[in-house]
């Protein structure tokens, strides 16, 4: 048991990256093997992650020291599976496996696409498991590169431009992070998160130039992640990337890439710097919550005025990640749990919404809000699932969106930051503003009868035009049900994270 569990963190990362080559190799002989390879791999990864989660539940955190090279200073590279990272790894593997149900007929196709897909999954798992700040940079880059490739696989010049935009801004973000890591290394001489987590409070107590370095490191890291997580005003790559990526790719990117980056930010803030450093540094929490709060307001406002549905959802992500960053900045246990739950909940909901947008685009030929008119009577199941997901996004209980919002709101009240609490409560109305727009179009606006400018089945990558398979619709419905069902897991999430949070906050 323990031997296998200790091996798993490494396998979870190595297996998808190695298997990413298989579709290309097989592609020399067979045409369509990519999907099968990806399906088998992601399912196996999910099973392995579930096993690892069970092990973590029983024995606490599982640490894998790469190469068995455990130096006393702890310079050895570690992969850590604890309550926090396993939860994110589960989200990654489940989503990766589930979205395949869409891409089988919804596209994109081609063996190289699935190579990129597996590479992305490997990078994301690495990012969630790593216990080393430099390795985190490596995995950030793997994720980034795989994402560029996936966005660019959409055809047409917009995809290329969107990918280029993300390439430039994403690399900038990763570079900022790397500079921050450099400062950290200068100040402490360590890269291992545990070692850093012990060293930093001492430096903070001693003060001096090392403390200045630490503060600079935090600033660079935070800005780097703000870019990766797409916080206002550094969000400008995200709407283009989400809108122009192929329909089958957007769910994965939207549900996972920003989510895992936000997870990494949380890991750095709470495991490396620690709550004492965050609260002791003047203006730090104030800046973090302000960035988040402004993103909530700006993201929702921009979402309301969008005409393209995918773009609207993209701006919605800006605002929802704003809530998560706010929760990080509140530095209370409840808010932190809220942030984690919202990471998971938002991931599931957004994956579902983008799958829904894809299903509607393929089956109904609608891409703008206006074209969604009459969807409910023509595509009742797709419309119903999208409606449920939107309701979950607004945070109407019972749903995944509600429990996250509840803990974040309680956290804000506990921190007695009233303006932030007001923003959190108002975020419901802001989310409602753009969600209700779509709901009203789908259910209470009769179809105009005018042919949409987009012909049905713009599966430009060669997907069968107009064909919505059972898998595509099925995964949409399942996601909607999961988004509602998670609404009953508020207590379970809190309990699951209890060992982690009580260690961090005490």
């Amino acid at each position: 048991m323990s031997n296998l569990a200790e091996l798993l963190p490494a396998l979870l990362i190595a297996a998808p990256i190695l298997l990413a080559t298989v579709p290309i190799v097989l592609g020399l002989r067979f045409d369509r093997t990519g999907w099968s390879v990806a399906a088998i791999t992601t399912t196996a990864l999910f099973a392995a992650t579930a096993y690892l989660a069970a092990a973590v539940y029983e024995t606490g955190r599982v640490v894998h020291v790469l190469g068995g090279w455990g130096e006393p200073q702890g310079i050895g590279i570690e992969l850590v599976a604890d309550e926090f990272s396993v939860l994110i790894a589960l989200l990654v593997t489940v989503t990766a496996a589930a979205v395949l149900a869409y891409t089988r007929t919804g596209g994109p196709r081609g063996n190289t696409f699935y190579t990129g897909y597996l590479l992305l999954v490997g990078g994301l798992l690495g990012l969630s498991m790593t216990g080393d700040v430099f390795n985190m940079f490596v995995f950030l880059e793997i994720v980034g590169l795989a994402t560029y490739a996936m966005i660019a696989s959409g055809d047409g010049p917009e995809s290329a431009v969107a990918a280029l935009k993300y390439l430039i801004l994403g690399t900038l973000g990763a570079s900022m992070y790397l500079i921050g890591v450099g400062f950290l290394f200068m100040a402490t001489g360590a890269l291992n998160m545990d070692v850093l987590g012990e060293a930093i409070p001492q430096i903070a107590d001693n003060g001096g130039s090392d403390l200045t370095l630490l503060r600079a490191a935090f600033a660079f890291i935070f800005v780097g992640f703000a870019l990766k997580v797409a916080q206002w005003p550094l969000h400008s790559w995200q709407p283009d990337a989400y809108q122009h990526a192929p329909d089958g790719v957007t769910p994965v990117i939207a549900a996972l890439v920003s989510t895992v980056s936000a997870y990494a930010l949380g890991r750095i803030m709470y495991n490396v710097f620690g709550p004492e450093f965050l609260t002791a540094t003047p203006y730090l929490t104030e800046i973090v919550v302000t960035v988040g709060a402004v993103s909530v307001l700006a993201g929702s406002t921009l979402a309301v005025i969008q005409r393209d549905v995918k773009r609207m959802f993209a701006y919605s992500s800006v605002s929802q990640f704003g809530l998560i960053v706010v929760a990080y900045g509140l530095v209370t246990q409840t808010a932190f749990v809220g942030a984690v739950i919202h990471l998971i909940g938002h991931g599931v909901i957004k994956a579902g919404l983008f799958i829904g947008a894809g299903v509607v685009a393929v089956g109904y030929g609608a891409r703008t809000v206006d074209e969604y008119a009459g969807l409910a009577s023509n595509r009742p199941f797709a419309a119903g699932s999208i409606a449920l997901l939107l309701i979950a996004l607004i945070g109407i209980p019972p749903s995944a969106g509600f429990i996250g919002k509840w803990y974040i709101a309680v956290g804000a009240v506990e921190a007695e930051l009233w303006p932030i609490a007001i923003v959190i409560f108002l975020s419901t109305m802001l989310t409602l503003a753009y969600s209700a727009r779509l709901l009203e179009k789908m259910y209470f606006t009769p179809a105009t009868g005018v042919d949409s400018p987009h012909p049905a089945g713009v599966a430009t990558d060669g997907g069968r035009a107009g064909a919505v398979s059972i898998g595509m619709l099925g995964i949409l419905i399942v996601t909607a049900i999961v988004a509602i069902g998670l609404g009953f897991a508020g207590g379970a999430f809190f309990e699951w994270l209890e060992p982690f949070t009580s260690e961090v906050f005490n």
């Binding site: 803990y407 309680v410 009240v413 506990e414 009203e440 209470f444 009769p446």
Partner: protein, 652 residues
Amino acid sequence: MTEASILPLAAVLVSAVAMCLIIASYRYPNVREGWSVVAALTKFGIVASMLPGVMEGTTYYWSLSESLGVEFLAGIDFVLRADPLGMLFAMLASFLWIFTSFYAAGYMRGLDEHAQTRFFAAFAASLSTAIGIAFSGNLVTIFIFYELLSLVTYPLVAHNEDNEARIAGRKYLTYTFFGGGVFLLAGTVLVYWLTSSADPAGNAHLAFESGGIEMLAEAAAADPAIAQAAFYLLIAGFGVKAAVMPLHSWLADAMVAPTPVSGLLHAVAVVKSGAFGVARVILEVFGPGLIHDLPLNVPAIGEVGLNVPVAILAAFTLTAASIIAMRKDHLKRRLAFSTTAQLSYIVLGLSMLHPYAILGALFHIPAHAFGKLTLFFCAGAVHVETHTDYVSEMAGIGKRMPLTMSAFAIGAAGMAGMPLIAGFVSKFYMLIGSGSVGGGYWIFAAALILSGILNIAYLWPVVYTAFFESEDRHDAKPVLEFPPGGKRESYFADDEYATDGGEKPDSGHPQPAGDDDESESKGAGTPTELDDDEYEYAVDKYPSDHTASDDDHTDDGHDDTHNDAHDDHDDHHHGGPPASGWARHTPFSESTWLILVPISIIATGAVTLGVVPDYAVFLDLATYIVEGVFGVESFDELRGRSLAEALEVINE
């Protein structure tokens, strides 16, 4: 005594299951409506089966964590609990749903409405969440159902799918989610935080406790400002649905919904859930004692109880809404403002904190429900049969719909608080209550009496015009808009009718905006015996449009509303009498039994509650609730006490 039981959950789930069955049987209208009726009967049966136990002091509860081991949120359980207050609301909503489901079938079929499956499904879901609100055992549970209720009633408001309905739907969503998702959630979070920081073990106390949550009282002593903020947030959250000014304007707009919705939901289930929530907050979250003792510092006045601003707002609302109602020509809008006023009776009675006032307020929940449902059913029946929506078009309609308009008269008398009808009993108790408190509270008694008079002023003209005026001779409505003494007018252009030498009747219509298709079929279902093809009649400023042929008149007008649903007219103005005046009908032939039987039963109910309130269960329940809140064995112990004395009883 509490007892674990599946019954509260079953009562909530019955109509949720019915919703699924309704959607599944969308091809068979009779089966579909059958499910509504079956669910309504089952629901009432389940609720009523708990009544004897509850009256003997048993509280039935169902808890998610005890039953399934699932904790909804950390430290918060999902609890459904049938206590006396919850039973009052649940009995009312489930009882009235039985008759509304018949009426709704008659109404929707009579108008040949579109999307009936969605309508009945959303209706069943609304009842499910309303019962959920009634049986919620703590603030988070009530929040869940409150939000869900907003959500599932939205399809009913936006039902018509035209611009007016969509705009009303947007307004509805904005108001109700501001109330629920912002105010109520914020208030709940504050109470959570207050109680968990006051409790030595760090546990939150959100479960309702008769007479107020004890831990909250301790926390409020330590941090009064936050407790006050929580109180007003909770009251504002529920006040949105209770349509307390200035949060009331969604209600009148929501009247674009089909009449069964306006009747059961926007006079009973939805709006009462707001008033019921206010009752929960005042009686079982904060408790009258804490509310009275938590002084609010008002500059230049000094310290006043937390309840006083709420009472002032409610008193203002019930007066202002009554005055606005007098100016409304659209019957359903007039009734909507009447609802706004009547709901504030409940809020006012509760916020006066005196046992008698609370008793009156609680009894007003069923009393108003029976009366207002009668009124809405009548308005709907008139709409189905004659397509008449405006009071100014109803002169002489008593001939056409004698039973309906008689029931309307009963409902109107109940609203005004006439003796022998339900509304009298509740208003009587509230007057005693406000009198017993003394001090400046006389002003609330004055508001109650003034509003009673205003009620007569805006509802009596409807009855008067129906029975005592005729198509060719009546006063222009609304009365308030025209010169004192009234302005004589006639629906017919012929000079021979204007025997008094009145002016030409072409300016009589207050709502003529943009009606160029006026000449379309009128008087649905009324066979007209016109033998003069050249007969002309005028109903508005454009007489040139009004040469109508026989064919137009025999057309039964159903199609016309249906098409109307999709055009963007602001003003569906197809009512009024047919060219030959209202045809005379007997009470049995004026409409279908699906509509007439429910009207008769609900009107009878309103009279029963007024004549023998002691034998209808609601007054017993209300008394029992007040006894629980003040912690006395019998209501007699509270008799003749002033507010301060009554509140001392709680502390003992």
